[in-house]
Structures are given as C-alpha cells and as structure tokens.
Amino acid sequence: MSAINQPVAHGKAAPIGHATRHWLYQRTSSIALPPLGLWFLFALLAQPDLGHASVSAWLARPLQAALLLLFTWCALWHSSLGVQVVVEDYVPGRRRAATLRVLRLLHWAAAIAAGYALWQLALGRAG
C-alpha cells in the first residue's frame, strides 16, 4: 500500500498538500458548479443583447452580481484543482513545482480581478 500511496513530491508549491483534501474540494466545487453554470448560461442568453448597456444593467443588480461572482470563483477554484492534476500527470521533474506555482498565481489573480470587476459593476460604476 505505502508504495503506491506516496504523495506526489512537488515541494512547497503544492496548493493542496493532501490528496484527500484535493478530492473533497474537487467534489465540493463540482456539486456547486452545475446549478451555478446553468444559471449563468441561461441568464446570459436571456439578455436582450450583449452590449455594454444591457450587461452593466444586468450586473448592477447586487444579487445577480453576487451570483456571478460565486459562479466565477467556484469555476476558478475547480479549474485550479483540475489543472493541478493534469500538471502532476504530465509535467515531470523540477518544472512541475514552478508550473503549479504559476498556475495557482494565475487563478488567484483572476479571482481577485473578478471580485474587483463585479464590485464595480454592482455599484453601477461601469462607465
């Protein structure tokens, strides 16, 4: 058992150190995403058009902006966990830790940017 259950060695860059936590987070986000994703898709398609006026009016409603933020954060969380597994499978050796670090940073940056953008939109500050 111990021979095949060794954790993948990727040093301090590991976003989640333990496989069980990774598994649990991946499932938590994957249960949250279908309803949020369906809501986003149909809310987007229901807009009269996708011009700036329509989109900023839509997201100036706080509940709508909050839902979209929740969807975006869950999607980025799920994405971060997912690409981590792909990197662990296909990027060997020393480059693995660096790749994981870059991808984690990218996901954090996107999450912060989404928070900032939706905050501005919810306050009706978009132009």
């Binding site: 111990s2 021979a3 060794q6 060695a9 499932r27 994957s30 249960i31 995403l33 279908p34 994703g37 369906l38 898709l41 398609l45 058009d49 996708l50 011009g51 700036h52 006026a53 989109v55 900023s56 997201l59 979209l68 975006t72 999607a75 980025l76 994405s79 997912g82 690409v83 792909v86 499978d89 296909y90 060997p92 050796g93 990218l106 996107a110 940017a113 989404a114 900032y116 953008a117 939706l118 501005q120 939109l121 500050r125 978009a126 132009g127």
Partner: protein
C-alpha cells in the same frame, strides 16, 4: 520508497500501452474540455473587467469576442461546457458508488454524449441571435 523508484514512475494514462476504448476517449475528453473551460473562465474574467472599465473597453472586448474565429471557439466552448457538466455528474455518480461496472460505464457514457449533443444544439439555437 527509494528516490529512484519514485522518479521513474510512469506518466499516466499510459497512452502508448493501452488500446483506446470508448470510455478511455470519454475520460480524455473530460480533461480536454476541462482545460478548455479553464481558459474560458479566464476569458470570462477578462470580459467582466472590460465591462467594469466602461463602454470603450467593453467595445474592444466585444469586437474580439464577436470575431468569426472567436465565435467558432465560443460555440465549441458551449459544447465543452455541456459535455463536462454531464460527464462531471457521471463522475459524481461513480463517487457515490453507482454504475461502476463496465457495461454501465459504457451506457452512461453514451447517455452523456447524447445529452451533451442535444443540449448543445438547443442552446446554440437559443444563442443564435447573439451570434448572428
């Protein structure tokens, strides 16, 4: 475990060794669509930033996203969205211990492909006015 053994472990999923089965292709597609949707989540954030910046920045983002190559990619992303969603539910069923034997896995795989195709066609039809 000695360091040498650890370093020499093979990469999954041993594409050169196994014959491709229907379920293998579906598993690979789950990863590929997942990666594509990761890129889409970044596109979504870019789109939101442009919308928050104002009409000028939004017009630039909209022009890029509405270009013909991007429209084709977004239509493909919609297909990826549905496939990953339905196949993700299939994974959650497996996690609950359901449908684990080979024939059930093949049948649920066929169902996922059919549902994803149907949902893609319906939503592409709904999205058509935004694409046209």
């Amino acid at each position: 475990m000695p360091e040498v053994t650890r370093r020499d472990r093979p990469l999954s999923p041993h594409l050169q060794v196994y014959r491709l089965a229907f379920t293998t292709v579906l598993s690979g597609l789950h990863r590929l669509t997942g990666l594509a949707l990761s890129v889409c989540s970044l596109l979504l954030v870019g789109w939101l930033l442009a919308a928050a910046r104002g009409p000028g920045a939004y017009a630039v983002a909209h022009r890029i996203l509405a270009s013909l190559p991007m429209r084709v990619l977004l239509a493909a992303a919609l297909v990826a969205f549905w496939y990953h969603l339905f196949n993700g539910l299939r994974h959650l069923a497996w996690d609950a211990g359901l449908g684990f034997d080979q024939s059930a896995a093949r049948r649920s795989g066929g169902l996922v492909v059919a549902l994803a195709a149907l949902a893609s066609i319906l939503t592409l039809a709904l999205a058509w006015r935004h694409f046209a």
